[in-house]
């Protein structure tokens, strides 16, 4: 009896201590939550309020009624998709190389991936203008060696925009792919090879399914960020390749069309969230989290 009461008293005391600790931890997060509430959540809610100001849906109607804006949304979607697929196709071999090479080459390779990553997007985009311009490096080279006679139009094309965006997004693709590939036990590849699998079969049957979560993580990140790109299309598209972020900027800064910009923003945000949710949901169903190598 006595012992039971004592232990009950102790567990009460433990529970109280735990509650205090939990409350203390919660207090530590409070400033951050307040900050994000005021400067992240509230402005977004206000923007949404502007888009339906006066209880009307006319701004949304305008987004969809006018073929102009749906075209731009579709183009934005296409470019983001193209950037994502390109980044995946050229990023996977790089990540694979980094994950399977010697430590020295890995360090060098990582430096070559991270240095551009840390360099400002503006600087890199400007450099692409130098490279792709009418008097740029590529045209100069091709003319000097007699491949072409007059400079090609490379800049202000969708190609230039995609190239610039792939350059910006590639490290975001390579890093999650790398961490997925490096977790695959190299003995699995050896075992498969010993059982008669070709290199392609090893990739398709072993690496691809085991790194699917990394692929989805990279694809999600690149696609979602690509949807909202502004700097690269603005500079490398030269007004000829309009993405939705440029329209939103123009509506606010030039026309002060807050309600319409709000509606465009809400639609863009909705598309982004749906894509994000779909990819995550899909991967959660397809790839059980514990499939990784002893994590």
């Amino acid at each position: 009896m006595t012992a039971g009461t004592a232990s009950a008293g102790r567990s009460l005391r433990v529970a109280a201590t735990e509650r205090r600790a939990a409350f203390g931890a919660f207090l530590l997060t409070a400033p951050g939550l307040v900050f994000l509430g005021l400067l992240f959540a509230m402005p977004l809610i206000q923007l949404f309020a502007l888009s339906v100001e006066g209880g009307t849906t006319e701004w949304y109607a305008k987004v969809f009624a006018d073929g102009l804006y749906t075209t731009i949304f579709i183009r934005t979607f296409e470019i983001a998709l193209f950037v994502t697929v390109t980044a995946l196709l050229i990023g996977y071999p790089v990540a694979f190389f980094l994950a399977t090479t010697t430590p020295t080459w890995r360090a060098i390779g990582f430096a070559l991936v991270m240095l551009p990553f840390w360099t400002s997007v503006l600087v890199r985009t400007y450099a692409w203008m130098i490279i792709l311009g009418r008097n740029g490096i590529v045209n100069r080279f091709l003319i000097d060696y007699g491949f072409i006679e007059r400079p090609m139009t490379l800049l202000n094309t969708r190609f230039a925009v995609v190239l610039g965006m792939v350059h910006v997004m590639l490290p975001f693709m390579i890093l999650p792919l790398y961490s997925a590939i490096v977790r695959v036990d190299p003995d699995l590849a050896r075992a498969a090879r010993g059982m008669g699998a070709s290199r392609f079969q090893i990739f398709r049957r072993i690496y691809l399914p085991l790194t699917l979560h990394g692929i989805v993580a990279g694809v999600t990140l690149v696609f979602v960020v690509s949807l909202g790109f502004y700097i690269t299309p603005a500079l490398l598209g030269g007004g000829k390749v309009t993405m939705i972020a440029m329209v939103i900027e123009q509506q606010v800064r030039e026309f002060l069309a807050w309600n319409f910009a709000g509606a465009l923003s809400v639609v863009l945000l909705a598309i982004t969230l749906v894509v994000f949710w779909l990819l995550n949901h899909w991967v959660a169903r397809r790839v059980p989290p514990a499939t990784g190598q002893g994590r």
Binding site: R190, G194, G196, P209, T291, Q293
Partner: protein, 358 residues
């Protein structure tokens, strides 16, 4: 099923930068034989296995299977079954798909795959586990899957790379016997890698002891144990007393402390005056009173007494300062000594053998 083929490795050299991983390794494994490569970690045994499997290319030398040179073949073309140290089961495939993998790679018809997978799983007693994922299995079961996967395509050679390392002692002993039975039933030529000498003695037809990239000795387990070719092998396989001394006329050896012992066990001949090292297995040392007819008797003091259940192990220091290990079997009559007590150990001259002459 087909009988396994014989394996020959000849004059294999392999170096990584400055490190010599394998130096002139030559070895033949007969068809159906179970040969164990035994050695400490870093001895080159795993490199040798990788050379045989084709994951490493030797700098020099050949690998031949059934008389055919496979040195330049890709692992995929060698038709060898391998069980990896950590099993290397594909975590995203079910047991069934894991075992079917090598057959699928060979383009075996679906119906045949199904029957052969079932057959292989029955052989390792895993019928009913087809749809499980590897992580839903115990260590022993994972091991069986790896084994089934390595034999399902009727390889010419079975390679086992320390496959029992992760299992607890009881399970390990059961698996050792099971693997051995399966190997004998299928007549599979098997190359087995381990650093565990007991395991090597239990399982092998022959053992090859490796150290520092060289083969030290190849022989039947009993020969390796009873007649080790060098102090190194003696020390690595089983417990041993290795005593240094000088050969005297008439088959005696005078130890450093002045004691003379008679040595008649088989071994290299030594001329009087030669420096020799002799091997004395601890279990051949006994309480002098229980060793009638033992030519050698040495008095000393028990320094440490360890109770091991089946036997008692004593560390004995002789009057002259030589330390000896003695393992005295537990019997109803055996006397127990405590540390500090005097003891006289005795052994037969035939149980002492010269293993090195300098």
């Amino acid at each position: 099923m087909d009988k396994g083929a014989d394996l020959t490795v000849a004059g294999i050299h392999k170096r990584y930068g400055q490190v010599r991983a394998l130096s002139d390794v030559s070895l033949t494994v007969s068809a159906g034989e179970f040969l164990t490569i035994l050695g400490p970690s870093g001895s080159g045994k795993t490199t040798l296995l990788k050379v045989v499997a084709g994951f490493e290319t030797p700098d020099e030398g050949d690998v031949r299977v059934g008389g055919r040179d496979v040195t330049d073949l890709d692992p995929a073309q060698r038709n060898m079954g391998m069980v990896f140290q950590n099993y290397a089961l594909f975590p995203h495939l079910t047991v069934e798909r894991n075992v079917a993998f090598p057959l699928e790679m060979r383009g075996t018809p679906k119906a045949e795959i199904r029957t052969r997978v079932a057959e292989a799983l029955a052989m390792v007693e895993l019928t009913g586990f087809e749809q499980r994922l590897p992580r839903q299995l115990s260590g022993g079961q994972q091991q069986r899957v790896a084994l089934a996967r390595a034999i399902v395509f009727r390889p010419t050679l079975l390679l086992l790379d320390e496959p029992f390392g992760a299992l607890d002692r009881k399970l390990r002993e059961a698996m050792q016997l099971e693997v051995r039975r399966l190997q004998q039933r299928l007549g599979l030529t098997t190359l087995f890698i381990t650093h565990d000498q007991e395991e090597a003695l239990v399982m092998s037809d022959r053992i090859a002891v490796m150290d520092s990239g060289r083969l030290e000795q190849v022989g039947r387990p009993r020969d390796i144990y009873d007649a080790p070719a060098s102090p190194l092998v003696a020390d690595f396989v089983g417990e041993s007393n290795i005593l240094s001394g000088t050969m005297e006329a008439g088959g005696s050896v005078r130890l450093a402390d002045g004691t003379a012992i008679r040595v008649t066990g088989e071994g290299p001949a030594a001329a009087p005056g030669a420096k020799v090292r002799i091997l004395l297995r601890p279990e051949r040392l006994g309480d002098a009173g229980d060793q009638p007819g033992a030519e050698n008797q040495i008095a000393g003091t028990v320094v440490e007494a360890i109770y091991l259940g089946l036997s008692d192990k004593y560390r004995v220091r002789t009057a002259g300062g030589v330390e000896l290990l003695a393992r005295i079997g537990a019997s109803r009559t055996a006397r127990q000594y405590r540390a500090g007590e005097p003891i006289t150990v005795g052994f037969h001259a035939a149980d002492a053998r010269i293993i090195e002459v300098r």
